[in-house]
C-alpha cells in the first residue's frame, strides 16, 4: 500500500509540474484534479484548536476542507491516518535559503575606500535597496530537506549582506516542482541590518552608530526624493519608496542592537520586525514599549563543560545565566503579549530545532503560542494569513503529519506536505528503538546497544558481555528486527521480533545450541539524545550580571551626620557638618540637623563630597568612533550607550556619578556625545541626563591626520588640512541653515512650487553649533592647532566650549581665557606620541591660574575610577589648593557641561549626587564607601563586597546544573570567555 501510494504521488507530482498554460511534449495534456483526503487525524488547524477524528481534504495543493463531517467527493484518494496529528507547516521569516553568500571584496591594499563603487544608486555601497534576492535565488534541495525535517515548509529568504539588503522572496519548499510553484512572492519583504556589505570596502559606516545614522538619512532622503526634489536618478531611493508597503525585517546581532533597531524603526516610523538575540528576557519592558514584532532564534547555548575548572573560572555569571535562562526566553516574551515568530537561523544543528522548541514549552511557553509563532504569526507578519499557517479552505496545503502530539519528546514528523506535495520525513513503521537493552541468552547476560534506529539502513548494534564484545549483525525493516549473535567461542544465535514497543523487544529465534527459543530484551536506558532536563531558572538582575541589583534601588531620605563636607560653594569645607537629602535633592546643609523621617548615616571621620564628573569618558558604549568620513556629526553616542557595562559599577566605586561619553578622535568632526548619570541597572533612557545641553566631539592633531596608523588617503593629512575641514563644514552648515531659513519663511503656496532643501542630519548638527544650540568639546594637543580652532570658531561666531586633553593648553592659556574656552586635561599623561612631547603635569595649574576653567578627565575606564587621586596631582604639580583641586573633578566639569546649576556641589536644591569617602577624598588611602545619584544609593562598598559571595554561590548552583545536564547527555561547549573591549579615543569603531 505504502509503495503504491508513494508511486502514485510521484506521478501526481510529475503531472503537476506542468503549469496549466505551458505546452507539453507528452502524449496527452492532462491535469490531475483528484482530491486527497486524510482521515482519522487529530487536526490542529490553527493554534489552540484541536479537532479529533478529523478529515483534511485537499486538491491541487490547496486545502478544500478541514474538520469533521466533511463530504468526500468521489474522485478522492483517501489516506487513513488513525491517531496521527496534522499541523500546518511552519514558516521561517528569516532565512538565506537558496541564496549564495555575497562574495567578499578583496584587494583593498593600503588605501581606504571612501567613495562608493556602485553607480545609479545611493552614495553608500552598503545600501543595497535596489537588490532583489530573487535574481540570485536557486532552489537548494538539501537545505529544503533540512528545513522540512524541522517542520518548516515556507521560508522567507534573502541575501544576508548589507545595511539595506534589498528584498527577499517567499518560497515553498517543495521538491519535484518548478520555481513557478515554489516562489510564492518574489519580493515578499525588505531586509536590514547594521552590518556592512562584504562586497564593498567603502569605509563608511565603521560603527553601529554610523549604520543607524545612515539608515535614518536614507529614509529622510527617500522622503525628499519622493517630493521630486532630486535632480538625478537614484535607483536605491526609488526601491526604498517602492518597498513602502512591504514588511521590513531587521537583523540585530545582539541584545543591545535589538533595541537600537527598535529605536531607528520608531524614529523613522517603520514598524520593523526585529530578528532578536535570544536575550529578550532582559529587555521585556523596553521591547513592550517599542512594540515591534520579533523573530526569535532558538539557538540556546549549550552547557559549559565543567571539567576544566581553570577555564570555567573565566566564564562570567552572566554567560552562565544565559545558558540557564535562554530556554525561558520565548515564554517570557510571550507573557508580554509582544507578537513573535520563531526562526531556525543561528542553529548549527537543525535537528535541535524541535528539541529547543519543546524545551521552550517545558520552560513555560504555551503550546498554542509556540504553534502560533511558527504558523499564524509569521503568516500575518508576511501578510499571507489566508493562505499560510492555517489549515482552512483556500489555504495552501502545507502541513506536517506527526506520530503524536508535536511537543511530546518521542513524536516524530512523518510526512511533510508542501503545496500538497508529499515529502517523507520519518518512516512511520520504523520506531525509534535506540537505547541499551539487557538480554538473557542461556547463561549469558548480554548488553545490547542500539543506535540510529530511526534512520533506514543505518542502525548500529553493539553487543557485549561484561567487557567482551560479541560479533553481531542486525537488520531492521518494516518494523521487524532480525538479529544474529556470535559468542567468542564461535557459537551463533539468530533472533527475530516484531517491534511493538521500544521498551521491550520480544520474539522468537534459535539459541546458541540451535534450539528454538522465546526471547525478550528489556530496555534499561533510553538513548539520551532527545532528553532534556528543565532547570530551575535563576533570577535576572538589574543589569543582568554579577553585580546587578535584585530589585532596583530606591530613592531615600537620608541624613549624613558629622561629616567633613566639601561643599564646593562659598561655605568651603565644613567640618562636623550634616547634609540632609530627600526626593533626590539636597535639602539642607549645616550643623546639628535633624529630620525625623530620614535614615541617619553616621559619617563621623568621613568626607562627603558631590559626585565626581568625568568630562571625557568612553565607558558604557558599544562603539566610540565613526571614522568612515572626516566628519561624522550625524552620529550620536546616545544611540550606542551600553547600560550593562561593568565599568559603570566600577566607576561608581570611584565616586563617579556623571560622565560625558565622547565620540573618539578618528576624525576632525566627530559625533555627538551622551551625558549620562551612572544609574547602574537603569535603562539607557533613564541614564541619559535629562535636559542637558547637547555636545559634540571635535578633534585635532595626529589622530585626525591618521599619523600613527597606515592610512594615507583621507583628507586631512596635515594640520593645515584640518583647519580647512572646519572652515568647509562650518561654511556649508551656514549655507544649509540659510537655505532652510529661507524655505521655512515661504508661504504654503510658495513652498509647493519651491524645491525643498534636503534634510541632512550632519548639517543639522553643525547648524546647531552655529546657532549656539550645541557645544564643542575638542580633542587637542599642541598650541598651534588649539589657537587655530579658536580663530576658525570666532570667524563663525562660535565659542569653543571645551578643549579636552589640551596638553599644551598651558602655552596658550591666556588666549583660551580670552576666548572663553575651558580645559579638560589629564593630570600627568605624556610621552605616548609626538604631540605630547611637551605635555607637562603642571598644565592644569597654569591654565587654572590663567583663569581657564580646568578639569581633569580620564579618557580611560581604569583611571576614571580614581579621578579623586588624579585631582590630588594638581596639589602636587603646581601647588593648587586642595579645595580648588577637588573642583577639577566635580564643579569645574559640571560647568563645562553646563550642568553646574544642578550638579557639581553640595547645595540646597541641587541633585543629591554624592560620594561618601572613608577619609580625605584626595588621599591615596581613601575609598568611596557610598555613591548616590538623585538620592539613590547605587554603590555601597559593603554590598559590593558581599556580592562576591552571592556571585560565587549562584555560579555553584549553575555549575551543578550544567554538570547534571552533561551527565544527562546534553552536548557541552568548551568554556569561552568573551573579552570585553576597552575603548579609548583611538579605538576605531
Amino acid at each position: 500500500m505504502r509503495n503504491l501510494l508513494f508511486g502514485f504521488f510521484l506521478l501526481l507530482g510529475m503531472e503537476l509540474m506542468a503549469q496549466s498554460y505551458y505546452p507539453t511534449n507528452l502524449g496527452t495534456k492532462t491535469e490531475n484534479s483528484h482530491y486527497q483526503a486524510f482521515t482519522g487525524v487529530i487536526l490542529h488547524p490553527q493554534p489552540g484548536k484541536t479537532v479529533e477524528n478529523a478529515t483534511l481534504l485537499i486538491q491541487k495543493g490547496i486545502v478544500v476542507a478541514a474538520g469533521t463531517q466533511i463530504k468526500i467527493p468521489k474522485n478522492t484518494v483517501i489516506r487513513k491516518l488513525t491517531g496521527q496529528h496534522v499541523y500546518p507547516s511552519f514558516i521561517d521569516l528569516y532565512s538565506s535559503f537558496g541564496i549564495a553568500k555575497a562574495q567578499s571584496k578583496t584587494g583593498q591594499g593600503r588605501s581606504t575606500q571612501y567613495k562608493a563603487s556602485q553607480e545609479g544608486g545611493y552614495w553608500n555601497d552598503h545600501i543595497l535597496g535596489n537588490y532583489q534576492a530573487v535574481t540570485d535565488y536557486s532552489y537548494d534541495k538539501e537545505a529544503a530537506e533540512t528545513y522540512r525535517e524541522a517542520g518548516f515548509g515556507i521560508v522567507n529568504t534573502h541575501r544576508e549582506d548589507g545595511i539595506h539588503r534589498g528584498t527577499g522572496l517567499l518560497v515553498a519548499l517543495t521538491d519535484d516542482r518548478t520555481e513557478n510553484d515554489r516562489i510564492l512572492d518574489a519580493t515578499s519583504s525588505a531586509f536590514f541590518s547594521f552590518s556592512k556589505s562584504k562586497q564593498s570596502n567603502q569605509s563608511y559606516p565603521s560603527s553601529v552608530m554610523g549604520s543607524m545614522a545612515l539608515l535614518r538619512q536614507l529614509y529622510h532622503d527617500a522622503d525628499w526624493y519622493a517630493g521630486g526634489n532630486s535632480p538625478t536618478k537614484d535607483l536605491d531611493l526609488e526601491a526604498v519608496l517602492d518597498q513602502k508597503s512591504l514588511p521590513k525585517i531587521f537583523e540585530a546581532t545582539d541584545k543591545l542592537n535589538v533595541l537600537r533597531g527598535a529605536k531607528v524603526s520608531r524614529d523613522m516610523g517603520l514598524d520593523w520586525i526585529l530578528k532578536g538575540s535570544g536575550q529578550e528576557y532582559e529587555q521585556l519592558q523596553e521591547l513592550k514599549k517599542y512594540g515591534n514584532a520579533l523573530v526569535l532564534p532558538l539557538n540556546f547555548p549549550k552547557p559549559y563543560d565543567v571539567n576544566d575548572p581553570e577555564l570555567l573560572d573565566k566564564i562570567t555569571l552572566s554567560q552562565m545565566r544565559d545558558w540557564n535562562l535562554a530556554p525561558t526566553n520565548p515564554a517570557k516574551v510571550a507573557a508580554t503579549n509582544i507578537s513573535f515568530a520563531f526562526t531556525m537561523d543561528g542553529l548549527d544543528d537543525s535537528s535541535s530545532f524541535l528539541e529547543n522548541l519543546r524545551r521552550s514549552v517545558a520552560n513555560g511557553l504555551s503550546k498554542a503560542k509556540a504553534i502560533a509563532a511558527l504558523t499564524t504569526v509569521p503568516a500575518k507578519l508576511i501578510r499571507q494569513s489566508n493562505r499560510l499557517g492555517v489549515l482552512k479552505p483556500k489555504a495552501w496545503a502545507n502541513f506536517i503529519i506527526t506520530s503524536g502530539p508535536l511537543f511530546d519528546l518521542d513524536t516524530k514528523i512523518l510526512d511533510h506536505y508542501v503545496k500538497g506535495n508529499r515529502h517523507k520525513i520519518n518512516d512511520i513503521k520504523q520506531q525509534d528503538i535506540d537505547g541499551k537493552y539487557s538480554l538473557q541468552l542461556g547463561s549469558h547476560s548480554l548488553q545490547l546497544k542500539l543506535e540510529n534506529s530511526s534512520q533506514e539502513d543505518e542502525i548500529e548494534l553493539t553487543v557485549t558481555e561484561g567487557d567482551v564484545e560479541w560479533e553481531s549483525s542486525l537488520k531492521y525493516e518494516n518494523g521487524k528486527i532480525n538479529l544474529s549473535l556470535s559468542s567468542p567461542d564461535g557459537l551463533s544465535a539468530i533472533l527475530e521480533a516484531n517491534i511493538e514497543q521500544s521498551s521491550r523487544i520480544a520474539g522468537t529465534g534459535i539459541d546458541l545450541q540451535g534450539n528454538p527459543i522465546q526471547w525478550e530484551a528489556n530496555q534499561k536506558t533510553k538513548d539520551n539524545k532527545e532528553r532534556f532536563l528543565v532547570f530551575e531558572p535563576v533570577a535576572t538582575t538589574f543589569p543582568n550580571n554579577g553585580f546587578g541589583f535584585k530589585t532596583p534601588p530606591q530613592q531615600q531620605r537620608l541624613l549624613f551626620k558629622n561629616a567633613t563636607v566639601w561643599t564646593n560653594e562659598v561655605e568651603g569645607i565644613l567640618t562636623n557638618a550634616d547634609v540632609l537629602i530627600g526626593n533626590g535633592k539636597v535639602l539642607d546643609v549645616g550643623k546639628n540637623l535633624s529630620d525625623a523621617s530620614a535614615t541617619v548615616i553616621d559619617a563621623t571621620g568621613k568626607h562627603l563630597t558631590s559626585g565626581i564628573i568625568d568630562e571625557h569618558s568612553h565607558i558604557a558604549a558599544s562603539s566610540i568612533n565613526e571614522g568612515g568620513h572626516n566628519s561624522s556629526a550625524e552620529v550620536t553616542i546616545e544611540d550606542v550607550v551600553d547600560p550593562d557595562d561593568i565599568d559603570i559599577y566600577r566607576n561608581l566605586a570611584g565616586g563617579v556619578t556623571t560622565i560625558q561619553i565622547l565620540h573618539g578622535s578618528a576624525n576632525p568632526i566627530g559625533g555627538r556625545s551622551a551625558i549620562i548619570k551612572l544609574k547602574w541597572g537603569a535603562s539607557v533612557e533613564k541614564m541619559l541626563f535629562p535636559n542637558a545641553d547637547p555636545f559634540i566631539k571635535f578633534a585635532l592633531g595626529e589622530n585626525v591626520k591618521q599619523s600613527n596608523w597606515g592610512s594615507y588617503n583621507r583628507f586631512p593629512q596635515t594640520r593645515m588640512g584640518v583647519e580647512q575641514v572646519f572652515v568647509d563644514y562650518f561654511q556649508r552648515a551656514k549655507e544649509y541653515g540659510k537655505a532652510w531659513t529661507q524655505y521655512n519663511q515661504l508661504t504654503g503656496r510658495q513652498k509647493r512650487s519651491a524645491k525643498k532643501p534636503r534634510y541632512d542630519i550632519e548639517m543639522e548638527t553643525l547648524w546647531e553649533i552655529l546657532e549656539g544650540k550645541r557645544f564643542i568639546s575638542c580633542h587637542s594637543y599642541v598650541q598651534s592647532e588649539i589657537n587655530m580652532l579658536m580663530k576658525v570658531a570666532e570667524r563663525f561666531g562660535v565659542r569653543v566650549n571645551t578643549f579636552t586633553h589640551i596638553l599644551e593648553g598651558y602655552k596658550v592659556a591666556d588666549i583660551m581665557a580670552t576666548h572663553g574656552a575651558a580645559g579638560s586635561t589629564f593630570s600627568d599623561w605624556w610621552a605616548y606620541k609626538y604631540e605630547v612631547k611637551d605635555a607637562i603635569a603642571y598644565n592644569g595649574a597654569i591654565m587654572h591660574r590663567a583663569g581657564v576653567n580646568v578639569a581633569f578627565n580620564s579618557d580611560d575606564a581604569e583611571m576614571s575610577r580614581r579621578l579623586n587621586q588624579e585631582a590630588a596631582k594638581a596639589v602636587k604639580y603646581g601647588g593648587i589648593s586642595e579645595e580648588d583641586a577637588w573642583k577639577f573633578v566635580t564643579l569645574n566639569p559640571a560647568k563645562m557641561l553646563h550642568l553646574d546649576d544642578r550638579i557639581g556641589s553640595i547645595k540646597i536644591g541641587k541633585h543629591a549626587d554624592l560620594a561618601l569617602w572613608s577619609g580625605h577624598p584626595m588621599s591615596v588611602y581613601s575609598k568611596a564607601e557610598k555613591t548616590l545619584i538623585d538620592g539613590v544609593i547605587y554603590y555601597d562598598a559593603e554590598r559590593a563586597n558581599a556580592q562576591l559571595d552571592v556571585i560565587a554561590e549562584e555560579k555553584k548552583i549553575l555549575i551543578a546544573q550544567m554538570a547534571q545536564a552533561a551527565n544527562n547527555g546534553m552536548t557541552t561547549q568548551a568554556p569561552i570567555n568573551s573579552e570585553k573591549r576597552e575603548f579609548h579615543c583611538e579605538t576605531l569603531d
Partner: protein, 426 residues
C-alpha cells in the same frame, strides 16, 4: 607649601643645567630632624642620616648623631626613604611610544637571551629625568617581546651614559611562559574568546629542549653559541630567570619546570592569579613582582578592586613582593610607582611593608641588597627627602634626592616648561 613653590620658582636661573649628572659626594652630609623609613619594614622617628663618600655612615636617633659632618641639612620633619626601585621597566628604551624610531624595547626573534637592554638605555631620556622627582632613583631596565626577551640590568637614574648608569649588569633573563590559553584576533574576524591553546604542550617542550641544550652547552662551550652562552648564569645562580606569567597554570608549570631544568633563581613577573599558587610559591620562596594596581579586573565578576588587593594577599602569605611597570604608557607612568605602593597600602599592606615593595624587596630580588634598598650604615647613600608621605600624591613633594651620596637635580624638561610658561601666562 607655598613657600617651597616660591623658592623653587626662584631657582631655575641658577640650576638651569641641573639635569647634568651630579658630581661625586665631596663633603660628608648629615640630615637631621626627619622620619626615616628604613625600607625593611621599620621606621625611626626624629632621626638623622649621615653619609660620606657615597656611603651611609649614620642612621639613627637625631640626638645621638655625631657632630663630625661637614654639611648639615635641616630635615624640617620631612620623610626620608631609600631610593625607590622600578622593576621590569623599559625606561630609556623608548622615548615616545608612537614614534617607532625612538622604540628600542623589542628585538626581532623568539629566543634572545643574548640581547641586552642595558646598552640601549638612554641616560638622557626626558622620561627618565621625569621620574626622579617622585623618588624613583633606580630601575631594572628590561627588554620586551619574544619567548626569551633578553637580559635586564639595574641602572641608576642620574648618569652620563648607560655604562656609568649600570648598577648591576645583565642580572636576569626574561622569559615569557607560553600561555595555556589563547584568544582570537577580533580585528581579523577571529573569535576573540579565550580558549585552550593546543600548541601549549609543544611550546613548553620546545622551551625544555632549549634549556636542556643551554645546560649541556656549559660543558663544551665550542663552538661558541651566543644565546646559550648568555643563559649560563641561570644554572649557577648568578642570574635570575624572570618568568612573565599571570595565569595560575603558567605560574605552577613554569616554577616546576624551571626547577627541573636546573634554574637556580626564579621570580614571577605578573602573577595576577598568584593567589591560587601560594603554597607552591611559598615552598620554593619565589618572589612575585606584581603588576600596577591601576588595571581593570580580569572579568566582570571579579572583585572591583582585585588588582589593588593582590598586594596584601601575597605580602600576608609571606612572599617577597615588588611592583613591576609593564603595561600601557609604562615609561611615563614610572613616576606613579610610589602611588602604586600607596594603593597596595590602601588595600591592606601595612605602610612600612608597602615601602619595602619599592625598596628592600626589589633590592633583594635583584641581588643588590648588600648595597641599596634600605637605609643602613655601610650601604649606598641612595635616598630622598619628601615633605610628606611619599606614597600619597598630595604629599609626595621632594626636596632632595641622592644617588651614591651625589645630590641630583629634581628638575626636568617638565619643570623647565612649567617655569617658562608660568612666567608667560601669569
Amino acid at each position: 607649601m607655598k613657600n617651597i613653590l616660591l623658592l623653587s620658582l626662584c631657582l631655575p636661573l641658577l640650576v638651569w643645567a641641573q639635569q647634568t649628572p651630579a658630581d661625586p659626594q665631596s663633603e660628608s652630609i648629615l640630615i637631621s630632624g626627619i622620619t626615616a623609613h628604613i625600607g625593611n619594614g621599620t621606621i625611626i622617628e626624629n632621626a638623622a642620616i649621615g653619609f660620606d663618600k657615597g656611603i651611609l655612615t649614620y642612621v639613627g636617633a637625631a640626638e645621638s648623631a655625631p657632630a663630625s659632618y661637614s654639611k648639615t641639612i635641616a630635615g624640617n620633619e620631612q620623610h626620608a626613604y631609600p631610593g625607590f626601585i622600578g622593576m621590569n621597566t623599559t625606561l630609556g628604551l623608548v622615548e615616545i611610544d608612537a614614534v617607532r624610531a625612538t622604540d628600542d624595547e623589542d628585538e626581532l626573534g623568539e629566543m634572545l637571551p643574548h640581547v641586552r637592554a642595558a646598552i640601549a638605555y638612554n641616560a638622557e631620556s626626558q622620561v627618565v629625568e621625569s621620574v626622579r622627582p617622585n623618588g624613583v632613583l633606580l630601575a631594572q631596565v628590561a627588554p620586551r617581546g619574544g619567548r626569551i626577551s633578553g637580559s635586564s640590568s639595574v641602572m641608576q637614574l642620574d648618569a652620563w651614559n648607560w655604562e656609568d648608569a649600570l648598577v648591576k649588569a645583565d642580572e636576569g633573563i626574561h622569559l615569557h611562559w607560553p600561555s595555556p590559553f589563547k584568544r582570537g584576533r577580533w580585528w581579523l574576524g577571529e573569535d576573540p574568546s579565550l580558549k585552550r591553546d593546543e600548541d601549549y604542550d609543544s611550546d613548553v617542550e620546545e622551551l625544555a629542549e632549549y634549556f636542556a641544550n643551554a645546560k649541556a652547552y656549559r660543558n663544551s662551550h665550542r663552538p661558541k653559541h651566543l644565546p646559550y652562552h648568555a643563559l649560563k648564569g641561570v644554572f649557577d645562580g648568578s642570574q635570575r630567570v624572570y618568568v612573565h606569567a599571570d595565569y595560575s597554570e603558567e605560574i605552577k608549570e613554569s616554577i616546576e619546570q624551571l626547577i627541573k631544568w636546573g634554574v637556580q633563581k626564579i621570580a614571577i613577573v605578573g602573577g595576577h592569579e598568584a593567589p591560587k599558587q601560594l603554597v607552591l610559591l611559598k615552598k620554593h620562596q619565589i618572589p612575585v613582582i606584581i603588576p600596577r594596581p591601576h588595571r581593570l579586573p580580569a572579568d566582570e565578576d571579579e572583585a572591583l578592586k582585585s588588582t589593588f588587593e593582590l598586594g596584601a594577599t601575597l605580602v600576608e602569605a609571606g612572599l617577597t613582593v615588588a611592583i613591576e611597570m609593564s603595561g600601557r604608557m609604562e615609561r611615563m607612568n614610572t613616576r606613579n610607582l610610589p602611588f602604586y605602593a600607596g594603593s597596595f597600602a590602601a588595600y591592606g599592606v601595612p605602610y612600612e611593608k608597602a615601602v619595602a615593595l619599592l625598596t628592600a624587596n626589589p633590592a633583594k630580588i635583584l641581588g643588590i641588597d648588600q648595597e641599596v634598598g634600605t637605609l643602613e650604615v655601610g650601604k649606598k647613600a641612595t635616598l630622598f627627602l619628601s615633605k610628606g608621605d611619599a606614597l600619597d600624591m598630595r604629599t609626595n613633594i621632594l626636596s632632595h634626592a641622592f644617588i651614591d651620596g651625589r645630590e641630583l637635580s629634581l628638575e626636568s624638561h617638565q619643570t623647565k616648561l612649567y617655569k617658562r610658561y608660568s612666567k608667560k601666562v601669569n
